[in-house]
Every structure is written in C-alpha cells, then in structure tokens.
Amino acid sequence: MTVDSGTYPLEIFGAPPSAPHEAEPVLELLGVSKRFPGAAQYAVRDLSLSLLPGELLAVLGPSGCGKTTTLRLLAGFERPDSGEVRVGERRVAGGGSWSPPERRRIGMVFQDYALFPHLTVARNIAFGLRTGTNAQKQARIEELLHTIGMPDLGDRYPHQLSGGQQQRVALARALAPRPEAVLLDEPFNSLDASGRAHMRQEVREILRREGAAAILVTHDQAEALTMADRVAVLNEGRLEQLSTPTELYHAPATRFVARFLGLADFLPTQVTTQKLETEAGALPNPGIPACARADMLLRPEDIRLVADAEGCATVTAREFRGAALTYTLRLPCGQVLRSERPGTDLFELGARVRPKLEPTHVVLFAGERNIAVECLVHHCTCQLHH
C-alpha cells in the first residue's frame, strides 16, 4: 500500500517543494509486479511510482529490496509480470505492449559506468546521438564535455580517467540524446568516501543544468536524503513510503522506514487523554485519542541525559563520534534507548542516568504502522517546512 503525504492526521510537513501535483509524470510505474522464474518471492510487488519533470527521485532500500529490478523494469531490461510502465503518455510495458530499451528514451548510468573501453570519451558520449548533422552532434558533445567540466578530455580513453571522471562521462553519455529521464544505479558505489560527497553535488548540479528528471537507486540513506527531492523507500519489493526526505525522517510511515533512516528506538507508551506515559517519563498528550498501548518513536537527538544516582537508566555503551557521543541506555524492563549528546556530556559506563524525553513531535506506532504524528513544540512546524 502506498503511503503518500496527505494521509497523516496533521499536515505539519507540507507538500514537497518542487512537486506540483498537477504536472504530468515523465515516468510512471502502475501496480507493477515482477517475480523471477524459480524465485519464491516477488522481486517487486504491486509497485506504483511516478517521476515528475525535473525531479530527482531516490529509490532507497536494503540490498535485495527490489530497487535495481525497479530500475531495470523502467529501462526495459526486464518485463513486468503485471502492471504498466509509462514514459510520458506512452505505455512501454504492460497491457500487451512492449518497447525494447532502445525505444524508451530513458538514459541509464550503470553502477560500474559501463563505458565502452574501445571508444574515446567523445565517442562514448556520441554513441547515443543518432539524429542531427555532424556539426550538431559535435556541438552537443562539446556542450556536455563542458557541463561535466572535462572540455579537454574528449580524446581520452575511459581507462585513462579517474573514477569520478568516468562517472561524469557515464552521466554525460546518458544525457546526450536528451532522454525523458535518467536512471542512476548506485552510481557512487565505486568511489571513496570523499569522492562520493563531491560527486553527489556534482551530479545534482549537472542534472539541474540539463533540466533532466532522474531516478537514483541507492542503499545509502544519507545519499538519498541529501540528494533527492522525494524518496521512495522499498522493502521486500513493496513501497513502504514515498515522500520528501524531511517527512521520511520525521514522520516515517512504518517502523521499517523509521529504522532504515537513522537510529530509531521504540518505547512502549500508554496514551491517556492527558499524558503519554512511558518507562522513561511522561509527555503531555497533544491531542491523540487515548489508547492502551502504542510505541513512541525516539531518535537519539530526542533524549537528553541527566546524571542521577536514582535515575532509572544505566549507561551500557558509549560510542565516540568526534563532535558527539552516542550512549546506549538500558531501562529496568530491558528496553534499550540511544541518546546522542555533545562531546562534552560525559557519562561513565555503568552510570545511572535519568533520560529526559524532548522530542519536537510525537510519532506513535501500533503494530508496524504509524498511527499518529503530533507536534509538541509550537514552532516545530516552521522548522520542518524550511
């Protein structure tokens, strides 16, 4: 089931900034399912997604969640068992129609770039240029070489380039025929950490300059959160949630999403008309209907620690992270909570502390799903909007 923004009790996070709902999607999956022959499980199940013009949509999930299959279904390297794939107005798969990859006008950047090793950079970029005069093709190649910041390297061969350069050439090659959209399959995997951060910005910028809509497949939540306008979280072939990065983090629709994006602990909570009572303390009820039992989502930054010999929690682990420390606490019933504190907030292992819950908003789960998102602090709405 799709959970899109707007189904929450309060729309505190607003609509995605760059996603006017009236715009025609450039790329669309409608209820697509795919199971590989001999596989017990569906690789992708009843998946619906749409990519809006100029948007960067991230498809995020753990390995084996079906995200690469999703990409290959879009590109035409796999046929869906059911459902439809659309490019703009055109149906390219499903309902008896089928367009092979070469007729879809979708660019693809492969995980290992798949640059043609026997062709120069310029001829790699030119490979997909089929129409136009030679002069027009040449102009397009130069334009792209300029866009990717490699104006003089057109005569090089792929093996003479660095990883980041190869990546940019792969992107330029995919963009050259001005496709409807570009698909990027884990594009930063083969770069080291510093190159990765740089290339994220670079790729975002190149896509913006070309005005191209793109889908980025990744298992790296930081990558999805920093780069994408919207993020689709996939798990076991199903869509868990599709929304803006902010909303995903602060109002996850399912426990899976909450856990997959950042650290998350779930504290059993009793909801009365006045209070939200937990083992680690109580919060005022901002208007959630009373219920016997729910779990409150707590992020490490939501929990402050106070040294207290009578405190209910014990420090069981401490992780040094430079500017910050992450503490692991155990409550009497065995429940574990994590708390991120500035590096100056020092507690010894085994110390008794009193956790203070200070979430900006309350997110409650019953079973797997989110049942309530309520703002606690008056100005939090404004913070989250911008």
Binding site: P101, E102, M108, A114, F127, G128
Partner: protein, 549 residues
C-alpha cells in the same frame, strides 16, 4: 572441456540475468539440430536390429574384450602423457632448470603435429626396414639388421606410446596453466608454517595441481578411445577400427551403430565424471596481480632435469620434425617440387572444407554463445553441442554416411557441405567454448548500455560486443580452422571418392605405400599449415585447447 576453469563467477550470472529478447529456446534447439540429427539417426539405426541381434553383434565383435584392451591402451597412453607433460610443465614454471624459457615455449608446440603424423614418424623410424634399422645396419656394416622387439611397435603398445607422446602437450597446457593461476602465497604460507620445499611440493603444490593433471589425463584417455588415425596406422584394434571395418566390409549397419553407441556412452560417462569431479571444488585461486614466484632451486639435479626436458622435447618435437626432414632429403629438389605441385588440389580441398566447417561452426557458436552470454547460462543448446564434441569422428562419419544416403543422397556429392557439416558437429563445442570465453571478457551491461542509448541489438552487437570480443573470437576461429584442417577420422569416411584432403593423403600414403618420402612431404606440408596458425595462437597465450583429431 576446460570450462570448469573459466566458470562464470556468480555475480556475473546474477547481473546478466537480463532477458533481452533474443532467439528463444526454440531457435537454440534448432541450431543444435546438426548434433541431434546424426545422433538420433545412430540410435534409430541401432534400433533397426532386435535387442538379441544387437547383443550377438556386440559379442561377435568381442566388445567386452575390446573394451578391456582399449581401456588398457588408453591408460598406458595416459601414463606416458602425464609422465612427460606434468614434470615438463612444473620444471619450466617453477624451477631453475636450464633452458626453461625455450622449453616453456616449446611445450604446447607438438600440438601442431597431428597424432597420425606422429604415428607415421615412428613407423618410419622404427618399423622393420625403417630408418633406425637401416642406419644401424650400415653402421655395423651389415646388409640388414633387426632389433629384437617383434610386434611391439605395431599393436596397442606402439599405439599407446604414440598417443601418449602426442597427448603430452594437453597435460602440459593444463598443468602449466594451473601453475600460473596458482596463488604463490599459498606456497609461501606453507613455507612460513615451517615446511621444507619438498614437503611444500608434496602437501600443497601437488594437491592443488591434481585437478589439472586429472583434467589433462582424462583428455588423453578419452582421445585414445575416439582416435582412429593413430590406431589404424599402428594396427591396433579399437572400437573405431572395428566400426570402420564393419562399414567397409558392408556388415550390418545396426551392429556398427550399436558398437558406436557403446563407445559414445563410454566417452560421455567419462566426460560427465570429469565434469562432476572437477566442478565440485575450487582449486585455483585467483591471486590479485600475479607475483613472481620463488623458483625451486634444483641444485645438482638441474642437469638431470635438463636431460629430461631434452628427451621429452625430442620425443614430441625434434625427432618427428627431424625424421620428416630427413625423409625429404631423399628426394631431389625437382622431384619434391613436382610432387608438391601435384598436391595443390588436396591443399585446396583441405582449405575449402576447413574454411567452410570453421566458419559455420563459428557462426553457430556465436549465436548460441551470445544467447548464453546474455542469459548467463549455457542452456540446452550448449549441452547438445557439448554432446556432439564427444562423438568420435568415426562414429559421426558412419551416421552421416547412412543419413545422407538414406535421406539426402544429393548431399553426398557435395563434400564441402557434407564435411563442413561434420566439422560443425565435431568442433562446435570447442568453438562455443572459445566464443564464450571471449564474450566473458565483455561486461554484461555493455550491451545494455548501448540499448539504453537507443541502439538496437544488432548495432550493439556490431559496434560494442563485436569489437570488444573480436580478438578472442578471431583466435577461436583460427583454432577451429586448425582442428578442421587436421581432421582425419570423419573425413576419411565421408569424403566422396576422389576428394582427398591432406590428412587423408598422409594416411593413405602411410597405409598403402608405406612410409615413403612422399608421405613425409605431405605430412610436413600439413604440419606447416597447422603449425603457422598454432604459433600465432600461442603468441597470444594459450587458451582453449581441445583434443578431438
């Protein structure tokens, strides 16, 4: 047969799951018809006789005894081949034996000498009245001289010797390849654990080499079963000679077919055993960046090792070539010139059929190989082609003769088509293996990248896959061409009267006229024709090597 070693890594199988629409399973089965058809006909032929009839046929042919004798001969050949090939490979790869470079280079060269030429050479040398006898006689001042080994040269012992000597390169190539892929750090680790060089060799190197030795040995063993050229020249009685006798003498075809099927079954069993045994464990470890290995210092054994290499080189290379050349000197230049000019028709015949067969096999292999490359697995077509490879040439000849005469007599007068077809059946499997190895060098997503850029499958194949796999495919074609050029056992049965190829000429000369200088001249001609492409191939580094003659 060696695809065990280049088994596609699992991740590639995963990635290339792409089902880019292609021929389809029906098409793949269609292209494997060349193999299925003759085999099916053979079964049909055998079924033409009732079971008791077939059984008495087999009994009358002495199939049980025959099997035992051939097995003994094959084992003898294998022992000779392993004794020559395996130490040769280890000495040049891992020791400081003098001349290791030269002998390393010479190791695979004897494959340019077809085994039946080897038989011709050793008959020329050792047969009564041969070079050795006359040489010794003139040395001793007698008119004749006979060495006391009656009946040893002609018969299973001689055949085993020749098959072993000319099978040695298969063992050499397997072991040498394995030694190069062997991660030297394994041996270093054993040294680090306190083992001396001899114990390292015994407890690490040798066990790791065992599969390669086994694979090479099995090639020789199977070859001894399916060979016809050597055994017929050496007058040894095996399945293939019996089948041919049946065929020529006009005995019941069904008995010959039954015998053939027994032979095919034996060969298939061996190949399946090999596949199972070698497929299970991984022995070779791909070391990242091949480091120079520490050489074992042989000390005072160096010159003994050198003597061994000289002996092995002499048996497989120097003596054969020297004998052929010595035979040539018996002819005057004008005689030789006139004779060779007279052979041009046979050269043309050979080139024609080899070209037709190798190109057809390559086309088929490319179709099946591309499909397998896209899907990541071989599928039924690959399996069937593999089965064809394990059909002895004699058996294939028998079934094709029967098939064409019964169904399409027109084809019998078209040797290029008929022999080309036979070569496709015989050599499609090694060709496919070479094509798949060449394609394996091309990342699976290269084609997808081309397709995503708006190019159709044909353009993708021509502009991306072709150039990338091109050199490997060209080398594969050359290898298949060489295999076709030297094919004897099926050719001799299938060729229409008057259409002789070089191998057939050599065989006929040796068989009918005796080892005269003219046979040596044709043999040298063939050795040059086969040897030049073979040296070109070796210059690229040894790749797929196959054994069906």
């Amino acid at each position: 047969m060696r695809d065990v070693e280049r088994a596609t890594p699992a991740f590639m199988v995963m990635r290339s799951r792409a089902r880019v629409p292609s021929l389809g399973a029906v098409g793949a089965l269609l292209v494997s018809l060349p193999v299925a058809l003759p085999l099916g006909y053979l079964v049909w032929l055998a079924l033409g006789a009732s079971v008791p009839e077939l059984w008495t046929g087999l009994v009358r042919a002495g199939a049980g005894m025959l099997m035992l004798r051939v097995a003994l001969m094959a084992t003898g050949a294998t022992l000779v081949a392993v004794a020559l090939g395996a130490p040769w490979a280890w000495l040049v790869a891992r020791t400081d034996v003098p001349g290791r470079r030269v002998f390393g280079w010479l190791g695979p060269l004897p494959l340019a000498i077809p085994p039946y030429v080897g038989a011709l050479v050793y008959i020329t040398l050792l047969a009564p009245g041969g070079m050795l006898h006359t040489g010794l006689a003139s040395l001793l001042g007698r008119s004749t001289f006979a060495l006391p080994y009656p009946g040893v040269l002609y018969g299973p012992v001689g055949a085993a010797g020749v098959l072993g000597v000319f099978g040695a390169p298969y063992v050499f190539l397997n072991v040498h390849g394995a030694l190069q892929r062997l991660d030297p750090s394994l041996e270093d680790a054993a040294r680090g654990l306190g083992l001396g060089p001899v114990r390292v060799f015994r407890s690490v190197t040798l066990p790791l080499l065992r599969p390669a030795i086994f694979a090479g040995a099995l090639l020789v063993w199977v070859y001894a079963w399916v060979d016809w050229g050597v055994v017929s020249l050496m007058r040894a009685r095996t399945f293939t000679t019996v089948v041919r006798t049946y065929l020529i003498a006009g005995f019941s075809l069904s008995a010959a077919a039954g015998l053939s099927l027994v032979l095919v079954a034996i060969v298939w069993c061996v190949l399946i055993v090999q596949h199972r045994a070698l497929g299970r464990a991984r022995y070779t470890q791909a070391g990242r960046g091949r480091r120079a290995t520490r050489q074992t210092s042989l000390g005072r054994w160096r010159w003994l090792a050198f003597a061994f290499l000289v002996l092995a080189g002499a048996l497989t290379l120097f003596i054969p070539l020297g004998t052929l050349l010595a035979q040539l000197t018996k002819l005057s230049i004008s005689e030789l010139g006139a004779f060779l000019l007279g052979q041009r028709g046979y050269v043309w015949n050979s080139l024609q059929v080899a070209l037709a067969g190798s190109l057809a096999a390559l086309g088929l292999a490319c179709l099946v190989g591309l499909r397998a490359w896209r899907r990541g697995t071989g599928g039924p077509a690959s399996l069937l082609l593999q089965a064809g490879y394990a059909v002895p040439g004699t058996v294939l000849g028998l079934s094709l003769v029967g098939l064409t005469l019964a169904v399409l007599p027109w084809l019998y007068g078209r040797p290029v088509l008929l022999l080309g077809f036979a070569y496709v059946v015989l050599f499609a499997a090694p060709t496919l293996q070479g094509v798949r190895a060449a394609l394996a060098q091309v990342p699976a997503n290269m084609e997808e990248a081309a397709r995503a850029l708006g190019r159709g499958p044909l353009v993708a194949a021509v502009r991306v896959v072709g150039p990338l796999a091109g050199p490997g495919i060209a080398a594969t074609w050359l290898l298949t061409f060489v295999l076709c050029l030297r094919e004897l056992s099926a050719t001799v049965i299938l060729r229409p009267a008057g259409f002789d190829t070089l191998p057939v000429r050599i065989w006929a000369h040796t068989m009918d006229v005796g080892p005269d200088p003219y046979a040596a001249a044709v043999a040298l001609l063939l050795v040059v024709l086969v040897g030049v492409p073979w040296v070109v191939l070796l210059a690229r580094g040894p790749r797929g090597v196959t054994s069906t003659g």
